[in-house]
């Protein structure tokens, strides 16, 4: 493309933005607001998932072996336990190891006289999906040689339920807000095409290509979308940092752990600019379509 054409296209794209400044401002603001809401819910889901993942690591299920079994016999149960659905791994712990762990955690003097026989051999079980904890627990209890299974059922299930609800709500919100952004963008660019309908008619009459006619409006959409997404990114950054400070300083720190912003920065920036560009280009090109039919 010749330089003078490129210059013309970019210049007229920007002229459009200023010639109807109020609509452009509204579009940027609404795109930005939509992105911030989308981003906040997205970050919420990411953080809940992160917490569930660490729960899955920390919150072990403990499977106690019947006291009557010897160490060899207890070790022989391992393949049976690993065969249970949803079990991703099982680590054997002897009663002597269990006792020393216990003594490490508490005052050793208290337990000096303790005989290892009060402890049972046990397996530490890792699960693939903690939401299935209840059925897995029942299945483990049915394994021969297993005396008792300890698991924190309610805790795990509550988390997974929260995650599922938040995910569905977030997804629905993101779809709705995406449609809203596209609608607003489409209308703004439609207004731009309307104010320049005479120019468009003349361009068509003298034989400008459709791509050439469309270009300034797509540039306009693109620029508005990008401005909106970069502003949204900045504000999201500020809000998230504020939240992290609150959590770290406050009582909530014991219950909630948040990912640092640096961990979510790039995905967030890419998602925001990606959505901004898509909203701008799709909204822009759909707005001009009617003018290019014949």
């Amino acid at each position: 493309m010749k330089l003078s054409r490129l210059g013309y296209l970019i210049k007229s794209g920007f002229t459009g933005i200023f010639s109807h400044g109020l609509m452009s401002f509204a579009t940027v603001t609404i795109t930005m607001a939509c992105l911030i809401i989308m981003g906040s819910f997205g970050l919420l889901v990411v953080n809940i998932n992160e917490m569930i993942a660490s729960l899955e690591e920390e919150n072990e299920v403990v499977c106690f072996i019947d006291e009557s079994l010897t160490e060899e016999e207890a070790r022989a149960v391992e393949p049976l336990i690993e065969a249970v659905a949803n079990v991703s791994g099982a680590d054997f712990v002897t009663r002597e190891e269990a006792m020393s762990d216990f003594q490490d955690d508490y005052d050793p003097a208290l337990f000096e006289s303790l005989d290892p026989s009060v402890f049972r051999h046990r397996y530490i079980i890792h699960l693939t999906d903690i939401s299935l904890m209840e059925s897995t627990k029942a299945a483990l209890e049915d394994v021969d040689g297993v005396a008792k299974v300890n698991a924190h059922l309610d805790y795990a299930e509550a988390f997974v339920t929260v995650r599922n609800v938040v995910s569905i709500v977030s997804l629905a919100l993101i779809v709705i807000l995406l449609v809203v952004s596209l609608f607003i963008m489409n209308n703004t660019i439609k207004l731009a095409t309307f104010t320049r309908r005479e120019e468009i008619a003349i361009m068509r009459m003298v034989g400008a290509s459709n791509g050439f006619i469309r270009c300034p409006f797509i540039i306009e959409g693109l620029v508005l979308g990008l401005i909106g997404s970069l502003l949204a990114f900045g504000i999201e950054w500020a809000l998230y940092s504020l939240l992290i400070n609150e959590v770290v300083g406050g009582v909530a720190a014991a219950l909630i752990s948040l990912l640092p912003f640096s961990a979510v920065m790039w995905p967030l920036l890419i998602a925001f600019t990606g959505i901004g560009v898509i909203v701008g280009v799709v909204g822009g090109s759909s707005a001009i379509r009617n003018y290019l039919k014949v």
Binding site: K2, S4, R5, Y8, E198, E199, A201, I202, M203, R204, M205, V206, G207, A208, S209, N210, F212, I213, V294
Partner: protein
């Protein structure tokens, strides 16, 4: 060059049959008046030639483009071979005379140096030298129509099509404008001029095609006499 064979045109929106069986040949270099009463189908013929509407049946060829089968994305290339002028000038109010003409070149990809060379030449040809920096609202109707002619001419089309170009002008300006179109024809561009001004047509000895109710009722060199507006 234009070839129309048995062209029928029905507007889907109203069901109006605007043309029923039009045959018309225009050769390169010709000057043709297309005359007829209001509603007879003159503008419809022009829209068929520029690809703004599609014929219901028949055959149409314009400057080598088969209008019955032309692809949408090829239309711009057809349109670059045509210059179109309307009764209402259709200038861009916020652009100067110079920019209105340069705009037509820029949007089909001319370079700045081509534009700087060609626009002054065309403006001089249509008699607008010295008016470059004026805006359309500062010009008379005749001058505005000359800007439109300059714009139609600037991309060197093979043919210029004018739909009632003198409809908004007084008789003297109309004659001047027609003389300008004649001069452009003499420089080699084919001209198709739609009008229903009898005196104006008869002031020139050109080929006159008369249309009534969507049919061509006469075609020849004997002026506007052969048919009457009722």
């Amino acid at each position: 060059m234009v070839q129309m064979n048995s062209v029928k045109m029905v507007y889907d929106s109203s069901g109006t049959e605007a043309l029923h069986g039009v045959d018309l040949d225009i050769h390169d270099g010709e000057f043709v008046f297309l005359v007829g009463p209001s509603g007879s189908g003159k503008t419809t013929i022009i829209k068929l030639l520029t690809g703004e509407v599609h014929a219901s049946s028949g055959e149409i060829t314009v400057n080598g483009f088969d209008m019955m089968r032309i692809k949408q994305r090829k239309l711009p290339f057809l349109r670059r071979t045509l210059g179109v002028i309307f009764q209402d000038f259709r200038l861009i109010d916020k652009m100067t005379v110079y920019d209105n003409v340069a705009f037509a070149m820029r949007v089909v990809g001319a370079s700045n140096s081509e534009i700087r060379e060609r626009v002054p030449y065309v403006l001089e040809l249509v008699g607008l030298k010295g008016r470059e920096k004026r805006y359309p609202r500062e010009l008379s109707g005749g001058e505005q129509q000359r800007v439109a002619i300059a714009r139609a001419l600037v991309n060197s089309p093979r043919m210029i099509i004018a739909d009632e170009p003198t409809g908004n002008l007084d008789p003297v300006r109309s004659l001047e404008l027609m003389l300008l179109l004649e001069k452009i024809n003499e420089l080699g561009t084919t001209l198709l001029v739609v009008t229903h001004e009898k005196e104006l047509v008869n002031a020139f000895s050109k080929r006159v095609v008369a249309i009534q109710d969507g049919k061509i009722i006469s075609d020849g060199m004997d002026g506007y006499f052969s048919y009457e507006i009722e």
